[in-house]
């Protein structure tokens, strides 16, 4: 029966195109501008950086040379002096992303499901407004707030929570505060869109079938919003790992990050080979940690999936 139905509704054969054959382009032609752009400004530079990372700095006035290839720059990049900076970067990246996540999930959920619909536009604009200001200016603003004689320090001292000025500027904590502030909107927006797409009837169906709030969130809302949450995490974690403005302005010597270190090698030390090796290590660190995080998340959801899984396997 099904076949007859399908046979009846088979689409009509394509009408032959009137255009001459030589005018017809393959459909991937639509993507050529994008590919060209990506190749010229992403693939080629990255390949160049990888190539430089195997070379060395030839002398005090040279930036790079590739006549002798080795892994020596990698060994140098991972030497204890620089390795602590990578550790530091990873710590700020992971903790910063987790803090963003902890703030964004409840906020995006509230915005999508609980906030009055009429006020949503204003609330979203409030999330976006800091984004319209220059990144550097915003970060310098935090320098003023976090300074030992700044507003925060004064306020904490006046209410008696501190007996001496707050020594937080130029530390890892200051960098963490800065990156969370700078990247939070990038997490909230995709997450809000994701939650907003989980339709009300879907959540009502879950409650109707006997699931409470928490169960509905875990079984329906969260799985359906997953793509947006993943986008939010990647959108924050990746640029955060490479960020060097925040670290430069708020981190000082104690809050150094890898991006800053790479910039130093290229601009100050004029050692492109070492800078390139550091950049490659940073990229590999990001890729590996994202992979590990995906695996951990997949394993953590295993019990839930196993509980939900039901295959009848009956093809009768």
């Amino acid at each position: 029966m099904t076949t007859t139905v399908e046979g009846r509704t088979a689409p009509p054969r394509k009408a032959p195109s009137k255009r001459p054959r030589w005018l017809k382009l393959p459909s991937f032609a639509l993507a050529i501008p994008a590919w060209a752009w990506l190749f010229a400004f992403f693939v080629a530079p990255v390949a160049l950086v990888v190539w430089f990372s195997f070379g060395y700095k030839p002398g005090i006035f040279g930036t790079h040379a590739n006549d002798v290839l080795s892994f020596d720059r990698y060994a140098e990049a991972l030497s204890p002096t620089f390795f602590t900076t990578f550790q530091n970067t990873l710590w700020v990246g992971v903790v910063g992303t987790l803090i963003c996540l902890a703030i964004s999930i409840p906020f995006a959920y509230w915005l999508a499901f609980k906030a009055p619909i009429a006020r949503r536009g204003i609330l979203l604009a409030m999330v976006m407004i800091p984004f319209w200001t220059n990144f550097l200016v915003r970060t310098i603003g935090w320098q003023i707030i976090l300074a030992p004689s700044g507003i925060l320090s004064e306020a904490l001292q006046s209410i008696g929570m501190l007996n001496e000025p707050l020594e937080i500027l130029y530390t890892r904590t200051a960098v963490l505060i800065g990156v969370v502030y700078n990247y939070l909107p990038l997490m909230i927006l995709p997450m809000f869109v994701a939650f907003d797409r989980v339709s009300l009837p879907m959540r009502e169906a879950s409650k109707d079938l006997g699931a409470g709030r928490w169960s509905t969130f875990m079984n329906v809302t969260l799985p359906l919003a997953k793509p947006g949450i993943v986008v939010g995490i990647l959108l924050v974690y990746i640029p955060l790992m490479g960020d060097y403005i925040t670290a430069t302005v708020l981190g000082g010597a104690k809050g150094n990050m890898a991006g800053q270190m790479v910039a130093n090698q290229f601009q100050t030390a004029q050692n492109w080979a070492l800078g390139s090796a550091m950049a490659v290590v940073l990229v590999l660190t990001i890729l590996t940690t994202v992979g590990i995080a995906a695996l951990v998340a997949w394993l953590a959801a295993w019990p839930l999936r196993a509980n939900q899984r039901l295959v009848l396997g009956d093809k009768s």
């Binding site: 797409r197 079938l209 359906l224 009768s316």
Partner: protein
């Protein structure tokens, strides 16, 4: 006791006898009682002081145009909305304030609301899993439930791979697996095409009589309501206009609104005589079986006659008939409706009468023929003119603004 009171309640008394003295214990499993239920959204009244008594195992339809409060009523039963005032009891238990997941009712949603990230079997199993049912039992009951809707072979597919009708069946299986006392259906057939909808109507009715579960069915489609329901509650502007079985609603509409909303009617305007079952019209005397309670002598009124009650015959001679319920006219249109022929008869003053006659017995009439339209006294209902025009305006508005499509499928 209340049930018998219900049965004999005069049509139009807006449903459900007084049950103030009724206690929870006397209401059996599967009964639904609404008493003076009102729901306001801000200043707007969606449901206006509704009282309704649904018997266990009954198939009850809430029928009305969009915005009449039928969906809000259903959502209050499901627990998605709380009434502003009044009480709701399901199986004798007061459910006001009880969240949806703790009520022994399940809902079939308008756009099905199947979980796209779960297979068909996992969707159906959802309700049992929430109750912590052992896995072996889940497997057994999911199979059983899918068999009930003949969808077992689709168990391991994703809902997005199914057609609308198949998704509909899965939504039904999913809602029935928890063995609810009451099943709520919110325009479940609205998204299906006509033929499939008619098939599903029959299937739904069969399923309901087999399971013996109370079904409360929300629809704006009168054909759907008439074909399946034990009783129909016709709603208008947040109130129940009439609650009765399909026959009574069709044959003895309690108001001009019900008369016009269900099926088709010929409305003829006139003035009431001293005998409140007789109306004088420019076309002659119209006799009705009985007066409407709101009528008085000298009042402007409208008589409603169904097209199928109007018989047409070739007029003989040119004697101007003075008999009641007879109007002379000229055929201005004949249309073939399959099993019936439909005649449009002009009776002067820009007024037409519609007559529908079963085809084998239909007279051979052509456009231009002079005819006599006649009908029985029993088929005439009289309504006050203001009520009738208001009702006709409301119905016209309902027809031009059909229920909006559900928002849940938009992306």
């Amino acid at each position: 006791m209340t049930e018998s009171a219900q049965n004999t309640a005069p049509a139009g008394s807006a449903a459900g006898g007084s049950s103030a003295e009724m206690t929870g214990a006397s209401e059996p499993e599967g009964s639904v009682v609404l008493e003076g239920v009102t729901k306001k959204f801000g200043g707007a009244i969606a449901v206006d002081n509704i009282s309704l008594n649904v018997r266990p195992g009954e198939f009850l339809s809430l029928l009305g145009p969009s915005g009449c409060g039928k969906t809000t009523t259903l959502r209050m039963l499901a627990g998605f909305e709380e009434p502003t005032s009044g009480s709701i009891r399901i199986s004798g238990q007061d459910v006001v304030g009880i969240p949806p997941h703790k009520r022994n009712v399940n809902t079939v949603f308008q756009a099905y609301a199947l979980f796209p990230h779960m297979s068909v079997a996992e969707n159906v199993a959802y309700g049992l899993r929430q109750k912590g049912t052992p896995k072996s039992e889940i497997r057994e009951r999911v199979t059983e439930s899918l068999d009930l809707v003949q969808m077992r072979s689709f168990a391991d597919r994703k809902p997005t791979q199914l057609s609308g009708g198949q998704q509909q069946r899965i939504a039904l299986a999913r809602a029935l697996i928890n063995r609810p006392a009451v099943l709520l259906l919110d325009e479940p057939l609205g998204a299906l095409d006509r033929q499939l909808r008619e098939e599903m109507q029959i299937e739904l009715k069969l399923l309901q009589s087999r399971l013996g579960i109370t079904f409360i069915f929300v629809t704006h489609d009168q054909g759907e309501a008439l074909s399946m329901s034990d009783r129909i509650a016709i709603m208008r502007k947040g109130r129940i206009e009439q609650l009765d079985d399909a026959d009574s609603i069709y044959d003895s509409p309690a108001s001009a609104y019900v008369a016009g909303f269900i099926g088709q009617q010929n409305f003829i305007a006139g003035t009431m005589t001293n005998d409140l079952s007789v109306m004088e019209s420019p076309f002659g005397i119209i006799n009705a079986s009985g007066p409407h309670e709101d009528l008085a002598a000298g009042m402007d009124a409208q008589a409603a006659v169904r097209p199928e009650a109007v018989a047409v015959a070739l007029a003989t001679g040119d004697s101007t008939s003075t008999a009641a319920n007879q109007i002379r006219g000229e055929v201005i249109g004949v249309s073939h409706q399959g099993e019936t022929l439909q005649f449009l008869v002009s009776i002067g003053n820009d007024q037409t009468l519609l007559s529908r006659v079963p085809r084998p017995n239909a007279p051979r009439l052509a456009v231009g023929d002079s005819v006599l339209c006649t009908w029985d006294t029993a088929s005439v209902h009289l309504f006050p003119s203001d009520q009738a025009s208001q009702a006709q305006a409301d119905i016209a508005r309902a027809v031009s603004n059909p229920a909006p499509p559900t928002s849940s499928i938009s992306l």
